[in-house]
Amino acid sequence: MKNKFRTGFVHFSKVISPAMLATILVGIICGIILFIPPINGLADSGDFYNTLLSNGLYRFSTHYNQYNDFVIKKFGILQYYNENHFYTVSSQMIFVRLAVFLNKLFYSKTVFDIRFMGLVNSSFYLGGIYLLTKSLVTPIRKIKNYIIALLVVLIFGDAAYILFFNSFYSEAQMLIFTVYLFAAIMSLARNIYQRHWPMIGVFFLNAILLVTTKPASASLTISLILISIGLLFLPDFKARRMAIIFGSLLIFMAGTGIYLSASPETRDANNFESFAHGVLLDNSDPTTQVEKGGINGQFALSRGDNYYIGSYTAIKPSGKYVRKNLLRKNGIGWVTRYYLGNPKQLFQLLNVAASNITSIQPANIGNYPRGSGHKALSRYKYFMIYSSMVRFFYPGKYAFDCLMALSATMCYAVGGYLDIKGHRYHGILRFFLVLGLMVAVVYIPIYTIVTAGASDLAQRLFMVGTSLNLTFLLFITDILNHTLWHTDGKVGDDD
């Protein structure tokens, strides 16, 4: 019996590699979620507007509310000149334009079907999953390698991620780019390919695309530059170190560029939210606290208000009065100074943020289209073992995130240190990768609270959860491969 199983497995492993297995399984999940009716995806919380505008798409007018409740399947394609052609520039445009092109080619020149977005996203994603799994298991095809492949499917084939693909949220692209660049670094570290430069290219390309997904992604610049430092330790690479430094410089420039490209309106909106959903979220009365900072204490009344007013309000946040008396005063400098004076409030908010890290599937957003027999705002419930487990067990405390980050960094620092001593580069690349991801885990919540308050946390902290997931995957892989401390594969390799 045991022998039968073994020969069966040998046959299986000859036909299907772990990377192939993971890709096929994720592909099946994508197919079921995104393409088999009733299709699933994410409804619009109001974020689609910019993307639609700058990609020549528009919403059909309807008699019902198009926000939050249901996934919208069809959009219109502008037939004439689009004056908002470059209203915002981002790497997301590449994906959307490609989807629109395919849509025009195969479906319609006037109506855009959201499934083409799902198709483009999931095709790129499957490539990423293949590279990711390959970078973690190649060249061995033992059972434990297949377990790693299944773990990849469990974590990154989770519906919480896949649902993003049938939408215009830029998180879909962020996920894809992150998977690629992670795979690139691990492929280099584990010497999967003979030549280094293709994967270095993949890394820099995806890093630049990642920081340019939206203005808020600019905050990832630091992490990505940290990760690219690891590349400097690659052997026989002295001549091309300049290239690496140049690449890092490009990432930096892309980050600054996208940050500056944010329209004044977006900046005002963030400024307002950081005030109304951050500074004012004090348990006691914020009136006098705000006044101490030189802002009219009456603005405390805007606690919990949104920049884009949803209904009826006493004053328009986008109006002249608020701009002059609040938004011109409460820049990042002001907010930082405020939190330095009120650290307790900052930590309260960071804990609020931390409790949102695990909710990758945005709350209060429907996953089903209208007419599919599901109620408004109903959520997709399958293929969510991993995300629901994490949501259940992971403690939502910022201090815990910091401890996790610290222990992961220290853990991989040991491998890195040993590899510096041993003149290897696996552990060094891996260390800088983990360092970069963990810096993001610690830094992004603070950045978010200061720049945009506690609004839209699930989306703004998307990269924190993803970084933790990737690190967790790496950790398990290293334990299974016995490469956590020693990367040469000899010490402790008892298989």
Partner: protein, 516 residues
Amino acid sequence: MKKIRLMFVAISLFLISWFITPTNVQASTNNHVLLVYDSENTATGAAKKIDTLQRALTSMNLQVKTVDQSKYKKGELNDRYLGVITMINWRELGLINQKFISDRAKFSGIKLHIGQNLSQSEIKELGGSVQKLYRQQFNLKNNDNEQLLPFINTMTIVNKTEKAQQIGTLVTQQSNQQNYPFGIINEKAGYLPFFDTSGLSLMLEIQLIGQLFHRVGTYQPLLTFTKVTPYSDLRMIDELSRYCNKNGISFAISTTSVSQNTNLKAFNRFTATLRNVESRGGIIFLNAPEVSSTNNSGTLLSQQFSTYIVTLSQHQVFPVGVSAEGFWNQDQVLRTNFLQYANHWLMLPSQSQPNFVKQDNDAKAVQESYFGMSMSSLKKMSNTGDIQFSIPTALTIPLPNTDKDLATVKRDLQRNDFAWYDAVSDGLTTKIETPSSLLEYKYGNYYANGKHEEVQISNSSLNKQFGDNKPKATLSRYFKVQGHIFMTFFIIVTIILLVFIYLGQKVYWNRMRRKK
């Protein structure tokens, strides 16, 4: 047989009632006016003109239904209407809807024509002769008042006949100074060569419309500070109200309110300032909130209105009426869920792009509606001393934001010698009625749900009045201690971990050395 007889009686009763009801409706709706315009010509700011005209009519207690000529349906203008107003905003287009033109010719009620393109039948009704004037500038004169008008390219003037009544005179700039009539009323027909939204021309336009529709009166203007919100600089409101009180100027404030965060100190301060306004003789109009461009419902608006009224009156702030931009009266949802709770309105000029929720252009009238007009718009006139206000008018001044602006406002108030409307001595009685509460104002006294309310005067220094009485949670100390214990625990664990890492690393080194 009995049954048949009963049925016959029932049917005849029904038929009689059928015939009677329409006459009843007609009797009660004799304040309806139909306003038909040719186009909302954006180049000439026609939307603003229409808005101003609509508000003026509302202040005359007329219910105006506004129709674009392209949407006019045959038979719409009928005996139900007291009068019809034709407004030409785009001379080159003019009236092209023949159904309206023929309906209007048949109509026997009051007719007012504003602008060019008079039809032959209209000219006949106005007295018989017109003349066209080209490329000139005029002085508009009425009694002692005078205002220089902007240069015009073409203008049609109706010559005054003996029985016709003239309102205002246009005087040419040339040395021979020719005079032409500005507005003309000939029995049931009226004419205005243009419609201006400010200054003396507006005053005369209003006077003409008032006389034509027999709604003319004499009113004292109500001084109103607008653009007040809970977010305003409260010191400015306090200063202004004190200044007005000291100088015997009665005034009103039009302010928005908030429906959330009313437990904050900021709201207490805001209401304390408004209480000071009340105790200094000022009256308060609750201003309409900003309307968002998406997701609006009438229920939400009426809920918010109730919340405003309840929270304000809990703090002894009692609005006497509501204020809103003109377009609120042209929108079914905004009107029924906000304006119509009060019987005193203050209608302010609409912004350039109003956010309608359900536009119906079917304005309603109310017991009294103040026509909002900025005080600065009167500055063009040479002599403001004896301006006649023929409708209830609110002269508005936006709340200043800086000390410099405040000084300017005070100076302006000093210079003007209007006899301001005084709510107490002029016997203002108003009512705001929501399903849950009733606020009344009678001769300077406030009544909430029928009970007389005394408004307590707040301290002059607002900041000292409200102490920082933070609610202290009983368990907060416990959690604080718990937090400290956890912190120490984690520090100890980290130290032990570091020691272990150090030791473990040493062990590994030793192992590797042996291998070598």
